[in-house]
């Protein structure tokens, strides 16, 4: 575990850069984390991120399929919003743990 100062706040992160405590997250942190992935966050991104955070809070296991059925975006759109590994990147930016699902 490491600490990282981002958007003026010190947060705990794992070796792979995922937030340890989802409650330390805020939108400015998300924007900074997204920049590390070369993603400029828009409202469309935040809709997905909020959906991901909500389902994480409910204790659900996140899958690409669930995001595709969320009504916030479809699977193609999800890949376009977070290119090159949408589930992992979106989870990291949303401040939730690394996804454990194989689908």
């Amino acid at each position: 575990m490491a600490q990282k100062t981002i958007a003026g706040k010190t947060i705990d992160v794992t070796d792979e850069g995922y937030l340890v405590d989802a409650s330390q997250w805020n939108e400015d942190i998300a924007k900074e984390l997204a920049k590390e992935e070369d993603i400029e966050l828009t409202d469309a991104h935040f809709e997905v991120l909020n959906f991901i955070r909500e389902s994480h809070q409910k204790g659900e296991v996140l899958t690409i399929r669930k995001v595709g059925k969320s009504g916030k975006t479809d699977i193609k759109g999800f890949y376009q919003l977070f290119p090159g590994g949408p589930l992992k990147k979106a989870s990291r930016i949303a401040g939730i743990p690394k996804p454990t699902s194989c689908v």
Binding site: E16, G17, T63, Y79, G85, K88
Partner: protein, 168 residues
């Protein structure tokens, strides 16, 4: 792990599916989808009985073998008598159960799985030799199939640094 420096990263996987049982097809689909999810290129090549997975009429009716499958167990883990596997309806029942259990883990039916893979940029191909052998045509195959190709075309697709061929 993805963040760790590794000069031999896998950039592309070419997966060959030659068998048509639920578990063989899903092994290929899960591997391909997983690759796309990780941002890799993925090519799926279906040949011989694997073609069932991309044949419109059969793709959502795959079965798992209840005869000649030594790993088959009853619910609860008791041995599954081979003689029982022969009874009419048993294979269908077991197959339905397999699909139900996968659905619970958010593993979609075959057509939807192909949707997911192609939505992420993966590509699906049918083997020309097997298509000819089974007397199929392009219109018998799922709309997700980009092309019917030869083994030579397949190797061309597989070319490149960081590319792997996987036979499931």
């Amino acid at each position: 792990m993805a963040e760790k420096e590794n000069s031999h990263k896998i950039k592309k996987v070419c997966i060959i599916c030659a068998k048509g049982s639920i578990e063989d097809v899903y092994a290929s689909l899960v591997m391909a989808n997983g690759a796309v999810m990780e941002g890799m290129e993925a090519k799926l090549f279906f040949t011989f009985f694997g073609l069932d997975a991309i044949t419109k009429k059969r793709m959502n009716k795959l079965h798992t073998a209840t005869i000649g499958n030594p790993a088959m167990r009853m619910p609860g883990g008791l041995p599954f008598p081979s003689l029982m596997g022969m009874l009419p309806g048993v294979e269908a029942g077991v197959s339905t159960m397999m699909k139900k259990q996968m659905e619970e883990l958010d593993v979609p039916p075959v057509d939807e799985f192909l949707d997911m893979i192609t939505a992420g940029g993966g590509e699906v191909f049918a083997c020309k030799l097997a298509v000819d052998m089974f007397k199929l045509a392009k219109e018998d195959l799922s709309e997700h199939v980009s092309d019917i190709i030869t083994v030579g075309d397949f190797y061309e697709l597989a070319a490149g640094e960081g590319s792997q061929i996987i036979f499931t």
